[in-house]
Chain length 332, copies 2
Amino acid sequence: MNPLSIDKIYSMKAITLRNNKLAVSETTKPTIQDNEVLIKLNLAGVCSTDLEIVKGYVPNFNGILGHEFVGTVAETGENVPSSWQGKRVTATINIGCETCSVCVGEGSEHCPNRTVLGIINRDGIFAEYVAVPEANLVEIPADVPDKLAVFTEPLAAALRIREQLCVPPSRSVAVVGPGRLGMLVGWVLALSGNEVVMLGRREESLELAKKWGLKTDLTEHIEDNVFDFTVETTGNEAGLEHALRITRPRGTIVLKSTYAGPANVNLTKLVVAELNVIGSRCGPFEPAVRLLKTPKANEILDMVEGSYRLADGLAAFEKAAEPGVRKILLTP
Amino acid sequence: MNPLSIDKIYSMKAITLRNNKLAVSETTKPTIQDNEVLIKLNLAGVCSTDLEIVKGYVPNFNGILGHEFVGTVAETGENVPSSWQGKRVTATINIGCETCSVCVGEGSEHCPNRTVLGIINRDGIFAEYVAVPEANLVEIPADVPDKLAVFTEPLAAALRIREQLCVPPSRSVAVVGPGRLGMLVGWVLALSGNEVVMLGRREESLELAKKWGLKTDLTEHIEDNVFDFTVETTGNEAGLEHALRITRPRGTIVLKSTYAGPANVNLTKLVVAELNVIGSRCGPFEPAVRLLKTPKANEILDMVEGSYRLADGLAAFEKAAEPGVRKILLTP
């Protein structure tokens, strides 16, 4: 296929949220800025954040959803080297102003004026085409197939924990919530030799963790004060209460999931036991791609529970929202 | 005075909380275990924790209140060197079992079976005499007068922050709450060259901070996302909400005060801005005593707003509970 041929297409299919209504829409193909490229979608993944946005987590989001993807560069802006054309890529999702002190000091992930693909003030990637700044592009090597490359973003989010904290391999680690992100967190933290215990509310939810050789248990069976590190991935109050309960004095809790609205939580243990609680969000893409090149990464494919066309986006979202369902993929 | 002469006294005055009722009581002089010493009180300090316990913060506390003090060793147990007799001392407040894995690994401050002077299952020091294990004793040097030595415990609690975190001198620091503990936190953090901004709700509450050369502001005047490190010392939800608001992305919040009951707090910022929130409690006594030997420590005396006899304990508690009042001292 000549990637330039797509210039002739002026409309495209996309999964949109407008006025809190999820729909599959025929919408205009994006036009690119001088610093951007146009990417043709190969494969996308539905994330819990997408489901939360549909539930109203980001007030006033209007546009195309989605931020986990792999695609092929179809067009390059004036200031972008044309050598990008035809390359398989994914993209980091935060677009900062690159001029404020936060961008300079902390990175665009924390820019107060940032846009975020499919999350804050910017169209996402559940569409046939998406426009992304060149600065956000990450090339996917030939030996990482699309079905693995689509996991780059959530795997990077899991890796973020290792960017923020030293988690010594001899220390005990619990992951509360064996869901989409929780499983990747457990997978990543076990890579360095940590004994990782995946905790869930139902035995069935722990099957995949067992298959991967991780330890498992029901959260409610865990005694108080036993783990050095606890990663909370459920985003609900009960999960946070458990994390506070099962972490030992002077232990660390990583919050990987946002809490919609105020959380009504007893913080006494946090202070009395001198816990360290750290928020954790987007992570580094290059290390994630390196991991996706390893043979072990094929395990991650076990998380895929269905693939839908964009045209069947509503069914895809419905399936992804079912309890216990992990990764749902979308194709153009 | 011959310290042994007190053996003849069998009753003593103490400030007690029994069945949630604060009282000045005539009670039995403590008898000491083989590993303990009997200390005659010289001077004690009323802490916010004492006021919280009276309000019910520690369910079922029954006994003598108080944990900030300096006294003189009057009697030594069978297994304690008699060389302690007549020495001026204070004492760390946590008594662990010294055998469990928490005591061995993390210290007695976190022992699940610990008692705490005047806080958990153990009589405190608002009394003419107090029994304390030798292991908890810290000698007060001759050049630290009682009126400064009585600040050892809260100063150690402030110093605890420097035990837990690297707070680089070039980084901005805010202390929310210019109260008893907040002032000592600000005083300690400014020692290494940090610019410390003390934040309060009322202009009057900031006078002492100004006198000490600290920067000050009204909490509500502070813009969002400006401080690298924020120490929350108010123990109320509003203080915590402000701390979350004014700390920059990837910044650190230290919680120095417990929250009675569940806190209803929006934790979204914690996750999205990847904040680090760390609980902080009891600190190291020896460094606190070293600081109390420095000329600058005399500033701390500015915090004293009254001195009462134990017999006038109810009036002392009433005064200490008045808004804006800092240190109230107690004499035998």
